[in-house]
């Protein structure tokens, strides 16, 4: 087979790994990138694409996807899901647990993942952290990690019991996987349909206060420090919760008071708890509305902006949105 090569030039080249963001392109030979940067040697290329006005970046990863045939107009299948992902620039998607598909059974988990491997984009799966996502009994996380689960999650169900949360963080730490939870104090948020505000009060809606999220984030972050677990804060929705997540990097942390928990250099270093979730939070923070609808608008996420300059959400969730949150 003869070698084929393709050059993409005149793009805005964005590479978060190297910090690159500027004019440039790549040269691809036999499906492998052999050159990347502002100057690309186009002489040897069989084909050249002029990508003026476009962004050229590594494929995006969607950490939380779900196949929801009942909730999508065209009856979503795995094929339409992956096609949509590819069209939106996503090279990897993760099927995540939710109330309709809790992914909490170890039996058949490995088989499901083998099936997923045949799709056109990379499809991974996360596993449910607790049985039925009820936040009480741990699911067989270890067996599901062996079956290919890339992280353990709780869908939109918070974990009410602090002891369960501690044990989940400790238990998942042995597999070095993330534990993804929605930050919400279960008691403050139970049965609510809106964020507490002047608007929710006038509308007479049962509402959750913004500090519900802050309380949960502070609790879970403290437990992550204690247990050495890796915490992914998913579905952040309030400005109040944001500064409590966004403290990545050793420089910021040095100015914080020292942790009351003994951490030896051999334990997982603290920034590891923060780096990825912060990235993920930035990811979430730009979602146009809360909840699932975020997945349906990948263009909002692929809009270029350097992660470090992404603004934190400045408004609370309910006020601009006419959609009340689905009841849980």
């Amino acid at each position: 087979m003869s070698a084929t090569s393709l050059a993409i030039i005149n793009a805005r080249l964005v590479d978060p790994a190297s910090g690159q963001d500027g004019p440039g392109g790549v040269l691809i030979e036999d499906g492998v990138i052999v050159q990347a940067g502002p100057e690309i040697d186009t002489h040897a290329a069989d084909a050249v694409i002029d990508a003026k006005g476009c962004i050229l970046a590594p494929a995006l990863i969607d950490l939380r996807c779900a196949k929801e045939p009942a909730l999508t107009p065209d009856g979503e299948t795995l094929d339409t899901l992956t096609a949509g992902a590819a069209a939106g620039g996503f090279g990897t998607i993760v099927l995540a647990p939710n109330a309709r598909s809790p992914l909490d059974k170890a039996d058949g988990f490995a088989g499901m993942n083998r099936g997923l491997a045949r799709e056109s984009v990379r499809v991974l799966s996360a596993c449910g952290a607790t049985r039925g996502l009820a936040g009480e009994q741990m699911a067989e996380i270890g067996l599901m990690v062996r079956g290919g689960a890339v992280y353990a999650g709780q869908g939109d169900r918070p974990i009410a019991d602090t002891r369960t949360m501690r044990r989940l963080l400790a238990y998942t730490s042995q597999f070095d996987i993330w534990l993804s939870v929605r930050p919400a104090d279960a008691d403050l948020s139970e049965g609510t349909v809106a964020l507490e505000s002047d608007w929710s009060a006038r509308m007479g809606l049962p509402a959750e206060p913004a500090i519900s999220e802050r309380i949960a984030i502070e609790r879970d972050a403290a437990l992550a420090e204690l247990s050495g677990g890796k915490l992914m804060i998913d579905r952040l929705s309030t400005a109040d919760g944001w500064p409590r997540c966004a403290m990545p990097g050793p420089a910021t942390r040095r100015s914080r008071p020292p942790s009351p928990w003994p951490t030896s250099p051999s334990t997982r270093s603290m920034p590891a708890h923060w780096t990825a979730p912060s990235a993920w939070i930035r990811h979430c923070a730009r979602k146009p509305t809360a909840g699932r609808s975020w997945r349906r608008s990948p263009t909002a996420i692929s809009t270029p902006s350097s992660p470090t300059t992404a603004p934190p959400p400045s408004t609370t969730r309910a006020s601009p949105s006419p959609l009340p949150l689905p009841a849980r």
């Binding site: 741990m138 270890g142 238990y171």
Partner: protein
């Protein structure tokens, strides 16, 4: 008279913690236990080493095997052995531990063998009553005779445990057996490894003089002995692991996994054993590897040695 005891009297009138023992004390116990092990295999088992002394078995927690082992040990030494199942009597009627202790002490026993669900209860009783006390398990704290019999069993195979690599796998958080074994094996100079899910390990356990693992296959590499521990459901509130099935897949001992160990690896379990959860049933029954029943046999001999040596201390102090 043993070699170690020739110029050194066993100095203890209690056995509350393995930390009270030094290597010579342990050697004296093992030398006496070796003697009693031989005697126990003959039809003429009963001696009069503790004749005239009363041993009180005071079990605030239900126990069959440990209590039976102590009872048999006391009786074979010629002591009068009285079993008090306190769990079903005075405590249930609201009596405080202090009052129970003083009441029983007034009956003038010589040695109390105590099991209690609270850390420090045997030490408290020793202080309150002035009697000689053997700790037969206090909460999640210590079970010194179990650790002694475990090391004794290993010594019967190896001569000594110093320099050997020993893995303890399972519910270490709730295990007094693990705590006593870690203490004793450290005194004896063994290399200790622990393997459990993080939920079943005490905090900062890596500072206990052990290497800590979460992956059983890594932990088993080149081990000389492996001790499996049961999940102590009676001490657990809520779930520490998702299921017994997952526990077995991640932390259960099987023949296949033991191939990473030394070929002469010994498999131990303090009992009661849950087959198919922490140990494969075939492995538990493999006479080439499993020393689980030897541990039970050693238990009686070691407890005889401990009671005998404490009895000698009592007699010495009484000027006899």
């Amino acid at each position: 008279m043993t070699r170690a005891a020739f110029s050194y009297d066993f100095p203890h009138r209690h056995l509350l913690s393995v930390a009270d023992l030094n290597p010579v004390d342990i050697r004296i116990i093992f030398e006496r236990a070796t003697h009693w092990l031989t005697v126990n295999r003959t039809p003429d088992k009963v001696s009069d080493a503790l004749k005239g002394l009363t041993v009180l078995n005071l079990f605030f927690e239900a126990s069959t095997r440990t209590q039976g082992s102590f009872e048999m040990a006391g009786k074979r030494l010629g002591a009068d052995v009285v079993n008090f199942a306190v769990a079903r009597s005075s405590t249930a009627k609201g009596e405080s531990l202090s009052d129970t202790a003083r009441t029983l002490a007034a009956m003038r026993p010589d040695i109390m063998v105590v099991r209690h669900s609270a850390t420090g209860a045997p030490a408290f009783l020793a202080e309150r009553t002035g009697l000689a006390v053997v700790n037969a398990g206090d909460g999640m704290h210590e079970h010194p005779t179990q650790a002694l019999l475990d090391s004794f069993t290993l010594c019967r195979h190896w001569g000594e445990v110093g320099g050997k690599r020993i893995l303890i796998v399972g519910d270490i958080l709730h295990s007094r057996v693990a705590r006593s074994n870690i203490g004793l094996l450290n005194i004896l100079g063994a290399e200790i490894r622990l393997c459990a899910p993080p939920t079943l390990l005490p905090p900062d356990v890596d500072q206990w003089g052990c290497d800590v693992f979460h992956d059983l296959d890594d932990a088993l590499r080149d081990c000389d002995a492996v001790m499996a521990l049961r999940q102590q459901k009676e001490r657990m509130t809520g779930g520490f692991v998702p299921s017994e099935r997952e526990f077995f897949h991640l932390f259960g001992l099987t023949h296949e996994r033991l191939e990473a160990c030394s070929p002469d690896v010994l498999v131990m379990h303090p009992g009661p054993m849950n087959r198919g959860t922490e140990i494969h049933t075939k492995l538990a029954d493999d006479p080439e590897k499993s020393v689980i029943l030897e541990q039970v046999e050693s238990g009686v001999a070691v407890r005889m040695a401990v009671l005998e040596l404490i009895g000698e201390t009592i007699r010495r102090e009484a000027g006899q």
